[in-house]
């Protein structure tokens, strides 16, 4: 139907070709290697977070050999707990739930970065291989104290 210039055909051929290679890489990463973005489907009553396990006792819990759960409650404008020590090399599943509005949960310098929305549990598993101090902060606007909403994680030698 439509005629294209030869150079345009070449340009589009390579452009679209690399596009599909790129999408295939993302797809293999997601479905064959399991690197999906945080997409937890568990729901929770946002008004009963404090009574709902595991958020009734927020904090770090050992669940296996070198495996942990870190359960955190987010609310305007704080995380509970707001200081955590994690042994180096630990594989930690972080669960976060909010009692009020939407918050962010970002651990700067790591891949931990997820939205925390009322009614849902946000979850992501991360292994901490480097000793150091990481700042957790809220990166979704939640109100006047949004930029003060923070917590600290220390990864320490075992």
């Amino acid at each position: 139907m439509m005629h294209m210039h030869k150079y345009e055909k070449i340009w589009l051929f390579f452009g679209i070709g690399s596009l599909f290679v790129f999408l295939a890489v993302l797809g293999v990463g997601a479905f064959a290697q399991g690197t999906q973005p945080p997409s937890c489907l568990t729901t929770i009553d946002p008004e009963k977070v404090d009574q709902t396990p595991p958020f009734d006792k927020p904090g770090l819990v050992k669940t296996g050999d070198n495996e942990y759960q870190l359960n955190i409650v987010a609310s305007a404008f704080a995380y509970t707990p707001n200081q955590v020590e994690i042994p180096k090399g630990a594989k930690v599943t972080i669960n976060v739930a909010t009692k009020d509005v939407i918050h962010g949960f970002e651990m700067a310098g790591t891949n931990v970065n997820m939205m925390v929305e009322p009614g849902y549990v946000s979850s992501y598993t991360q292994t901490f291989d480097k000793v150091g101090e990481y700042v957790i902060l809220c990166n979704e606007y939640c109100g006047a104290g949004h930029h003060l909403m923070t917590a600290k994680v220390k990864v320490v030698e075992q």
């Binding site: 139907m1 439509m2 210039h5 345009e8 340009w11 589009l12 452009g15 679209i16 596009l19 790129f22 999408l23 993302l26 797809g27 990463g29 997601a30 690197t35 973005p37 945080p38 997409s39 489907l41 568990t42 729901t43 929770i44 009553d45 946002p46 008004e47 305007a76 404008f77 009020d100 509005v101 939407i102 962010g104 970002e106 700067a108 310098g109 891949n111 970065n113 997820m114 939205m115 929305e117 009322p118 009614g119 849902y120 549990v121 979850s123 101090e133 990481y134 700042v135 902060l137 809220c138 990166n139 979704e140 606007y141 939640c142 109100g143 006047a144 949004h146 930029h147 003060l148 923070t150």
Partner: protein, 549 residues
């Protein structure tokens, strides 16, 4: 046949100019807010009189993201359809004015509630933060006004088609129609959440809101919104710039095809803004990521078309060698220079966009200031510089004036100032974002965290760049005021390009609206039906409203 001295009818010109005035007033006020933001974020300055950073940021986002863009686009498109499909009928023009006043009144209402501090919810107004109902009602009027203007343009197009059976419509009219169809389909999403969820909830008729449904409806709108901003810039690149440089359009058909592809692929993709949120199965996210990336195809076509036009023109002027044609381009003409610089900025901007939309990489940058750096390249540089470049001929055309040499020189300087300011501000935002610095946040050291202290130098660089940008805003306001009120009287051309001789006839299939809208709707249904039903069926208890500012 339709080129040369055709002038937009004076009455249509007034309608277009009314929109453009509002757009530039929004730029002035929004720019001031932007300046305050970068100063606050540098940590060296605090807002006086207890003004909240987030009130300022809401003002900036609403005025520049929603008001400046929508008003300029609708004003420009009214001028473009009048220029290419003939003077508007009295009825169409009347409805155009109805649309204009609804949008203007809506803007005033929304601005009022923001400024009295009843709506510091940012321009994305995510529930369960709850603004005063007036904020949502004002926004509704803006959207309804834009719909009325859209239908006025459709009616004008239909009239042209009726008078010219079997003929291909003028390119700029066709493109305006595509953009308004895109806008109409996507704004149904935001209208749904505002009318059925947010307004009843903020008025107290219902107690609770489904947060994820509201966000999903918002982002169903939010991504096509950026294409609604971008397509008018593409209209200018495809159909106007070739004339400004004295060349021809590379191909009319390819231009139409790329617009149709944008229409189809820019809507079923909102999940790429929701990649790191709970409650959505990652397989559906991935599907929408794939659809998102399809817009790479029309983007590549556009890039090819533009540079082919430039090269063809340069060679026709005797340029030789691989890049000799570059020297033949009219660098001293601000009508060309500003949009061209905008195009250049789109290269890194597009690359950044690929990162943002990637299933996994998004997690690295989501809600960091990287994202802000990204759309100050796409929207606040590529689109805005193109609009400025268009204003330099559109305003004098509509007001019966001419741009003086001095103003043209100032416009070149403006473009350079903008570029320098943006390189500073946007690069600093990108780098700080990669280190984790969040967006939408007043200055904070997060309890003197060493990581947060590393971001401060970048924030100072942002303040330097932002201050330079603000000078750019002052310059463009001087130019625009001059062109609207003080420039010498005279005739300025509304340039519309002709198609190159070797390009072939445009097939009529591009105007088979049932086909294209049908495909768009099918893709939307495929991408959204199942996850949307999931959200409703597995919904958690809803949320009450919160006013936390």
């Amino acid at each position: 046949m339709m080129n040369g001295t055709w002038k937009v009818d004076a009455r249509d010109g007034k309608l277009a100019m009314a929109h453009i005035y509002v757009a530039f007033v929004a730029l002035a006020l929004g720019g001031l807010a932007g300046l305050l933001q970068v100063l606050v974020r540098s940590g060296k300055f605090e807002l006086p009189a207890g003004i909240s950073y987030y009130t300022i940021l809401t003002t900036h986002g609403v005025l520049l993201g929603l008001v400046l863009t929508t008003f300029f686009i609708i004003g420009f498109q009214f001028a473009a359809v009048s220029r290419t499909a003939g003077t508007l009928s009295d009825r169409v023009r009347f409805w155009g004015w109805v649309g204009f006043w609804l949008m203007t009144i809506g803007t005033a209402i929304t601005a009022f509630y923001i400024l009295i501090g009843e709506a510091s919810v940012l321009y994305t107004f995510y529930a369960p933060l709850q603004a005063h109902a007036g904020f949502y009602i004002g926004l509704t009027l803006v959207v309804v006004g834009s719909w009325i203007s859209g239908f006025a343009m459709f009616a004008h197009y239909a009239k042209w088609k009726k008078a010219h059976p079997g003929q291909v419509s003028p390119l700029l009219t066709f493109m305006s129609v595509v953009n308004m169809v895109l806008w109409l389909i996507c704004s149904l999403g935001v209208a749904a959440t505002v009318l059925f969820q947010l307004i009843p909830w903020s008025l107290g008729y219902v107690d609770r809101i489904n947060v994820l449904v509201s966000r999903t409806l918002f982002w169903y709108f939010g991504h096509p919104l950026v294409y609604f901003w971008l397509l008018p810039a593409y209209m200018i690149w495809y159909a106007i710039i070739p004339k400004i440089i004295g060349g021809k359009m590379f191909s009319d058909s390819l231009a139409r095809m790329s617009f149709i592809l944008f229409l189809i692929f820019s809507i079923p993709v909102g999940f790429h803004h929701q990649l790191v949120e709970p409650g959505i199965d990652p397989a559906w996210k991935y599907l929408q990521v794939v659809l998102t990336f399809m817009v790479v195809i029309p983007s590549l076509m556009t890039a090819f078309s533009m540079f082919a036009t430039f090269e063809m023109y340069g060679r026709s002027k005797g340029a030789t060698g691989l890049f000799g044609w570059l020297r033949k381009l009219p660098w001293g003409d601000a009508r060309f220079f500003a949009p061209f610089i905008g195009m250049l900025f789109f290269i890194p901007a597009g690359a950044g966009g690929l990162v943002n939309a990637s299933h996994q990489l998004n997690q690295v940058v989501h809600n960091t200031i990287w994202v802000t750096g990204h759309f100050h390249l796409t929207l606040a540089t590529t689109v805005v510089l193109t609009f400025f470049g268009a204003a330099y001929w559109l305003i004098p055309h509509l007001t019966g004036r001419v741009m003086t040499k001095a103003m043209n020189r100032l416009a070149i300087i403006q473009t350079i100032v903008w570029s320098i300011g943006m390189i500073f501000m946007s690069s600093a935002m990108h780098f700080a974002g990669l280190l984790g610095a969040p967006r939408r946040s007043a200055f904070s050291t997060y309890g003197d965290a060493p990581q947060a202290l590393e971001w401060v130098p970048y924030q100072i660089a942002q303040a330097v760049g932002g201050t330079i940008l603000f000078i750019g805003i002052i310059l463009v306001l001087i130019i625009v005021t001059n062109l609207a009120f003080f420039a010498p009287k005279g005739e300025t051309e509304f340039p519309v390009a002709e198609v190159a001789e070797q390009a072939e006839r445009t097939p009529l299939v591009f105007e088979n609206w049932t086909l294209w809208i049908g495909i768009a709707v099918v893709l939307i249904l495929i991408a959204y039906t199942v996850p949307f039903i999931d959200m409703i069926q597995n919904a958690p208890p809803g949320s009450k409203g919160f006013k936390l500012w």
